[in-house]
């Protein structure tokens, strides 16, 4: 119906002289009674044909109501007159409708009026157009409200979704965490089982040494259950009286220096038996380097020690027992050699006796070495330090070995040091044994025509002795094992099958017992240099062990 009306208006305008003629049916009344605003306008162009304004030819009552502008004032005036700051949009849009001949529908606002309108505009020919409009300001407001509410709602929904998502994530994380916690717990459980059941005693204490944990071996070793030990000072139950200095040193190492402490310790079992253990205590530090707790483990070596001792004692006993018959053979061979009947015997008899003597001496020398080793291992080396003239001892030893050297056609040479060596508080017999061993080896492993050079000197507060030979030399790999008990390099075995492999072990033990060192430099086929250095100031006052 509206369309009909509009068509009528259009036809009116067609037939009007630019003024709507409304006759017959009072169409004006229709327009006037409409709820919608209605305006009939003519476009105004500039010289270039560009729309720049439009003129209200007719507006209805609703126009006035919806715009707040009176019909009288508006009619016949241009929009720029009525609303001076009208947005260019309106003129442009209506201009386009007029020029294109196509109707348009849109929504837009007139800021000057503070209103928003829904517009229906169509061209009516001859540069005129009709506009039908509704005020949608309130609706838009409501819509905006609704939108914002919707937005809020949507936001809430999103928030809800986010929460849910977050929850899910958390759940997922939680599951993962749970899984990894389970794995970790499983790992920890494994570790705990391992620690619980290991044969070494493991004790964890707090930084004050109070026991927080003890494994099963605590009971096996000490006889006390881990529960008995818990909450007490570590070792309080099984500690045996060690010197105060020992504990002071231990605490200094682990608590002050924060280093691992390793030591052999004598402890007491619940039943009162003493046991020997190798103990190691490590401080566990946090990221700031503060001690969190201590981990101590103890290995009961009582049995090993006993076996070791028994072995050494056996060797010692056996050696002594061997010495008696060997000594008797030695003296009888000597008697035999001096016997008048034997003196007259043919040469081969003499050589037989010499061969027996040689073999006997070889066994005796092995027994001597074994005794030295067993004494070293039992800590029974007799160290009787007396102020000794070491140069004199070296001189005597060299003289004593000259015969051996001459037999091998090896020249042993040395000269006294330029700086005087003061008497050293050292066991002369042991020092002699060291020098005898070193020079003896140098001669033994030299070729005929070779030389053995002895250098003695003082380097600050150390005495050093270098023995250099032009012998078979020692390979780098053999040098590593050279000072271990019974070690003999293949070459040495070929060269001298009779060696016991104990000499250098004995030498090293003595030298180190005095706080000294021994080292070797060697080139295979060229020779070796053994260097010992011994502190001139001997702190030890003597005693049973070196």
């Amino acid at each position: 119906m509206l369309k009909q009306l509009l068509d009528t208006i259009a036809s009116i305008s067609d037939h009007s002289d630019k003024k709507p003629h409304v006759s017959g049916l009072n169409y004006r009344d229709v327009f006037e009674s409409m709820e919608q605003g209605f305006a009939f306008c003519r476009m105004i162009y500039d010289k270039g044909g560009k729309p720049i304004d439009f003129c209200y030819l007719y507006v209805n009552l609703s126009f006035a109501r919806l715009t707040g502008l009176s019909v009288e004032y508006v009619t016949g005036r241009s929009v720029k007159e009525v609303i001076p700051n009208i947005e260019p949009f309106w003129i442009e849009t209506y201009g386009r409708v007029v020029s294109s001949g196509k109707r348009e529908q849109f929504e837009n606002s007139v800021r000057a009026l503070g209103k928003q309108y829904k517009i229906n505009v169509w061209p009516t020919g001859e540069g005129c157009f009709a506009v039908l409009f509704d005020d949608i300001t309130n609706f838009k407001k409501k819509e905006a409200d609704a939108q914002s509410k919707t937005n809020e709602l949507a936001k809430e929904v999103r928030a809800q979704e986010d929460t849910t998502k977050a929850m899910l994530n958390v759940m997922e994380d939680f599951n993962l965490a749970k899984k990894s916690a389970e794995t970790l717990a499983g790992d920890l459980e494994k570790f705990k089982l391992a620690v619980d059941n290991t044969s070494e005693m493991v004790v964890i204490t707090n930084s004050e040494g109070i026991v927080l944990y003890g494994n099963k071996a605590v009971e096996t070793i000490t006889g006390y259950t881990p529960q008995e030990a818990m909450g007490k000072k570590s070792g309080a139950l099984w500690k045996s009286p060690m010197p105060v200095e020992y504990y002071r040193y231990m605490w200094d190492t682990i608590k002050v220096q924060k280093k691992m402490f390793v030591s052999e310790i004598l402890n007491k079992r619940k039943n009162g038996d003493l046991y020997t253990a190798i103990i190691s205590i490590s401080p566990i530090l946090n990221k700031r380097g503060v001690i969190e707790f201590f981990v101590a483990n103890e290995r009961d070596v009582t049995r090993e020690k006993a076996i070791d001792k028994a072995k050494s004692e056996f060797v010692s006993l056996a050696s002594h027992q061997l010495r008696t018959p060997l000594g008797i053979i030695k003296w009888y061979l000597e008697a035999l050699e001096g016997d008048e009947y034997v003196i007259r015997a043919p040469d081969n008899i003499h050589s037989y006796i010499q061969e027996i003597q040689k073999s006997n001496e070889r066994v005796l020398s092995l027994v001597r070495d074994l005794l030295s080793v067993s004494r070293i291992e039992q800590g029974k080396v007799k160290n009787n330090p007396t102020p000794s003239d070491l140069i004199q001892i070296i001189r005597e030893t060299v003289e004593q070995l000259q015969i051996v050297a001459q037999n091998k056609k090896v020249r042993v040479q040395w000269k006294s040091p330029e700086t005087a060596i003061p008497p050293v508080n050292i066991d002369a017999l042991l020092f002699h044994e060291i020098i005898e061993n070193l020079i003896g080896n140098a001669i033994e492993y030299s070729m005929p025509g070779g030389t053995v050079d002895l250098t003695v000197g003082r380097n600050e507060d150390m005495l050093y002795v270098c023995v250099t030979d032009t012998g078979i030399g020692i390979s780098p790999s053999d040098q590593k094992s050279l000072f271990t008990k019974f070690f003999r390099s293949e070459k040495a075995v070929v060269h001298n099958p009779e060696g016991s492999g104990l000499g250098l072990y004995v030498v090293k033990s003595y030298v180190e017992g005095w706080g000294g060192t021994i080292s070797v430099q060697s080139t295979e086929g060229k020779g070796s240099t053994f260097t010992i250095s011994i502190p001139l100031e001997q702190k030890k006052k003597g005693g049973d062990t070196v």
Partner: protein, 123 residues
Amino acid sequence: MKKILVVEDELAYLKLLKTQLTEKGFEVTEAVNGKEGLEKAKTEHPDLILLDIRMPVMDGMTMLDLLRKEEATKKMKVIMLTNLEPDNKILKGVVSDEPSFYFVKSDIQFTDLLNKINELLAE
């Protein structure tokens, strides 16, 4: 003829020392432990004692101690003969005991022992 008392629990050594020393012209008297040795020292008045260290009943070091405590045997010449390495106790005893000497049997020649015996008895 000089008289030597050999105190030795090892019969093979005892026999060896007796035959060899006898052959070299000494009168040899024997004891198999420190206790017996101490008695023989008192009754037989040897010119020299060859004394083993490790022996049952009474060891050589104890016998030496007791020997030095009695006026009659205080000045007796003693050579310690052993297969033990010298330990502190032995060395202390020997060092404080001027006329005594110490030999590890298997380390020396019998001739060395004989020389020492002759040297001591010639004093």
